[in-house]
């Protein structure tokens, strides 16, 4: 089992296996098409394939004339392709070079897709990448606003005197008539620090999230003026359950696998080369992108 697992993570082996498969596959597909001869054979299978490709694009089968021109096009491409090979046009073409190099990384990508992560893999990935998946702390609170624009220097004293009054009353007052009118609702439910920052400014949000007591507190300064606040409920930050983020986790996990596979594949090839830059031998540098 562990050997198999180890083999499954060996990129060079993957490469060889896939390479062999591709070779066999394309060999079978191109059966009867002899590249060496000046002969081009379009089989019934080729025509069916062209027709299906057309249908996928246009949502209907090609007409006879359209099919005829598809075949013409195919023949033309084959002729030009072969003549280009005869002239060696595949060499020293930056577009073709890039495409071929890219195809190598597709192999690693495809390999990564074959591996399905277990729940344990995903859970450990979740714990290794807490900050990326953590659900932020949330607060429900009410606030009373004192407009500095309207009250000027009196605003602080007004807020403080109301705070003293509120802290000494047992019952909950009707706060909708206290303080000044404000376009942001007095009742805020289940807001994250980021969401509070978007409404009141980031300094206010930071200060508010440091509070824990469920009593009237203040005076907090927002981007607009002064506020008295009472926290009603605080939900601490926590990691989500696996089921809530399974798809996201799987995608992130696969992306990481792809990156690792690509990196390993590249390094296993790279180690076989001696690279000299301006007379200096460059050691296998793992920081070089696998792309």
């Amino acid at each position: 089992m562990s050997l198999l697992k180890k083999l499954l993570h060996e990129p060079l082996l993957h490469f060889l296996v896939i390479g062999a498969l591709l070779f066999v596959f394309y060999g079978l597909k191109n059966e009867g098409l002899n590249v060496d001869d000046k002969q081009i054979i379009i089989s019934q299978d080729d025509i069916t394939y062209l027709s299906k490709q057309w249908q996928r694009k246009w949502q209907r089968p090609p007409s006879d004339i359209e099919l005829q021109s598809l075949i013409e096009h195919q023949i033309r491409e084959e002729v030009m392709y072969r003549e280009a090979l005869v002239l060696g046009f595949e060499h020293n073409d930056p577009v073709i070079r890039r495409r071929l190099a890219q195809k190598m990384s597709f192999i690693a990508d495809d390999l990564a897709e074959q591996i399905a992560p277990s729940d344990e893999d995903l859970i450990s990935y979740l714990h290794d990448n807490k900050s990326q998946f953590e659900l932020p702390a949330r607060l429900s609170f009410v606030h009373i606003y004192f407009s500095v624009d309207k009250r000027g220097a009196k605003a602080t004293a007004d807020a403080e005197s109301l705070l003293a009054q509120l802290q000494h009353t047992e019952e909950h007052e009707d706060i909708t008539i206290l303080g000044d009118a404000f376009m942001v609702s007095q009742q805020q439910n289940q807001q994250s620090e980021q969401e509070v920052a978007r409404l009141f400014g980031s300094d206010f949000a930071r200060e508010l999230f440091e509070q824990n007591n469920h009593i009237w507190q203040g005076v907090l300064r927002s981007a607009y003026g002064l506020h008295l606040v009472r926290i009603e409920e605080k939900t601490p930050a926590k990691l989500p359950e696996l089921d809530q983020v399974k798809d996201k986790l799987r995608n992130a996990w696969l992306a990481e696998q792809r990156a690792t596979m690509n990196k390993n594949l590249y390094e296993s090839f790279r180690s076989q080369y001696q690279v000299i830059v301006q007379g200096q031998v460059i050691e296998n540098d793992v920081s070089i992108s696998s792309q």
Binding site: M183, G201, Y224
Partner: protein, 185 residues
């Protein structure tokens, strides 16, 4: 984030409505929100609007709220008129009815600005003074911020650029609402 704007139109908004705690409540009770339609005015009444704006918590103070009215004249040409509805500070319109500029706190060397002019929030009830019952019209709101450095000003400082004279370095950011439509019939 961004400037918050609320805008309602109806035929019965009173000056006192602006003192209401919840503008949405009075707005929906007595009128239609932005994007809505006002149909054939009751005899002797002109449309009234209630508008309120709150600046971005991290952004610049507000200079003024404007209502832009548009209609087609007798020749079928589009016409527009901009009304200053409410503004920050102690400014008075001059004899031509033009409101003086809010001022400018921009320091281009940093660049930055200060919220020492303008207002955090503005609100008003406004009635169309030039209303014609038989003419289709639209009304939308424009909220102007006080002048702030334009992106070119930030680039100029960060990259130590010598910019041509015709590149604007300051701007007044703004918020627009959808219109409220008056349908004559």
């Amino acid at each position: 984030m961004g400037i918050k704007v609320r805008f309602f139109g109806g035929f019965d908004f009173k000056q006192a409505d602006i003192k209401q705690r919840d503008i949405a409540k009075i707005g929906y009770a007595k009128g239609v929100p932005m994007g809505g339609d006002l149909n054939t005015a009751p005899t002797g009444k002109s449309p009234t609007f209630i508008v309120a704006a709150l600046r971005d918590p991290e952004g610049a103070n507000l200079d003024r709220i404007q209502i832009v009215k548009g209609w087609l004249d007798k020749q079928g040409q589009g016409q527009e008129k901009v009304y200053d509805v409410v503004w920050g500070g102690d400014r008075q319109p001059n004899t031509n009815g033009k409101l003086p500029a809010v001022g400018d706190t921009v320091d281009l060397t940093i660049p930055t600005w200060t919220n020492t002019i303008g207002a955090s929030e503005l609100s008003a009830v406004w009635q169309d003074p030039d209303f014609n019952t038989d003419l289709n019209a639209f009304y939308y709101v424009r909220v102007l911020e006080i002048p702030t450095p334009r992106w070119t000003a930030y680039d100029q400082v960060r990259f130590k650029l010598d910019l041509p004279k015709d590149i604007p370095l300051k701007t007044q950011e703004r918020a627009y609402t959808s219109p409220i439509w008056y349908n004559a019939n």
